[in-house]
Amino acid sequence: MATDKTNLQLVVNGILNENPIFRLVLSMCPAVGISTTVMNGFMLGIAVLFVQVFSSCTISLFKNVIHPRIRIPTYTLTIATWVTVIDMVLAAYLPEAYAKMGIFIKLIVAFAIITMRLEMFACKESVTASFWDGIGMGLGFMAGMMSLGLVRELLGMGTILGYDVLGFKPLLFFVLPFAGFFCVGLMMAFFNYIELAYKRAKRA
């Protein structure tokens, strides 16, 4: 079975239609926990992109030799291997960013989004399609994290990527750790509102 989508469609699908954070509501822990700045979102996004692309390709390569009954443990161990790789690379080359994200890099192994994509997509499709699907999902996750980080950083500290944009701090509330819950909730409600308004406009 092969997908009838082009590579570009696969990528766009991951970013918009099936955005891991806002559409599938998966991998919420980092979205709430460390989305305080755009940079955090970007760094974790890179890590997830790496793990997603490489695990998708690995599983897609070996899909014919994996016995269906042990597929879930196989996925988990594949992901764990790639997470170990990115964990060691980041710890060696970007120690400050690594320290900021703390335990979340290691926790990529338990992110539902990666296992789900392996189960739904990579174990059926060709390596190329899996690669582009992985890129799309990784970018979608990164986009979700960065947009959350953008809102929280801008509203909380008046900065973007550390540069002062507004010159004042509108609502310090947004950088406080627990505000992640409110922020995600409000952004989801905002997207729902747009969707409802769009449907209403279409009907009228």
């Binding site: 335990i103 750790p177 409600a189």
Partner: protein, 316 residues
Amino acid sequence: MNIPTFIHRAVLTAVFVLLAPVLCQAEGLISGKRFGTAANELIVAFASAVDKTFAEDVTHYRVYEEQDPDIRLELAAVRYNAEAKSATLTFKQPLNTRLAHIVTVSNPTQSGAAETFRLAKPYLGYLLSIMISALLINNFVFTKYLGLCVFFGTSKRKDTAKGMGITFTIVMVVSALMSWFFYQFILKPYHLNFLQIVIFIGLVSLTVQAVDTVLRKVNPALFNAFGVYLVLVIANCVIIAVPLILADNEYNFLESLMLSLGAGGGFLLALYMMSSVRERMELANIPPTFKGVPIAFIVAGQFALAFLGFSGLSLF
């Protein structure tokens, strides 16, 4: 024996075991000793009244941590309270109250003689504080923001929440203890620390598979109730976060047990509270844009705010 009575008895036994030990008091010169309310205070109570100038002389006390006998802790001042017959020792540095301290006090009636005693917080209290900390102060859902996928997924009904919470706690305790064993006796001695993630997640999947098989044979009724949640446990970050935290902090067996119990209990607590609110929210008039997941996030945020109140809580 049905399950509620069993849980009831188990809880009662646990409480009894944890609270039973009573501190034995030393007889003789010293009638009591404890850490003060401030971090750099230590209080020594004398059995009989002592001369004030003698009791307030700093040179009559020697204090060091049990593991570092060479490093004498420096005293800033001693205040003697004649009514309570107790001396408050104030140190220049805050004390690490988790460690045992050795205190030597010169005997006022016999010059040259001294009495030495050991002062440590009760170990069970320390263990309990680890559990309370994981349960409330550092609740994994509301203050560490872990396990949210499963948290939002299974908190729609109270029954589901209870089932998920209990299954999760069982798997959590078993897999955390197994990970502790592997980390301390295999990974550390052979310098295989980089395999942490692979080993821990493998152990979790193994535990889930084992609990699944055992439960299916031993107690089919329980399996029917909780079996569905077993698969979801693997997709929960808390289950892999706890072994990693155990490995980072070098906890021993009992401390690991307490932390995993606290983590599981905290997850159960969070799920139960959230499901109670969500059951009521179904009847409430919520704006269409907020229906479903968005309002659940807002409620979780309010819980997180409330849990902030537990920070700084210290019972022992």
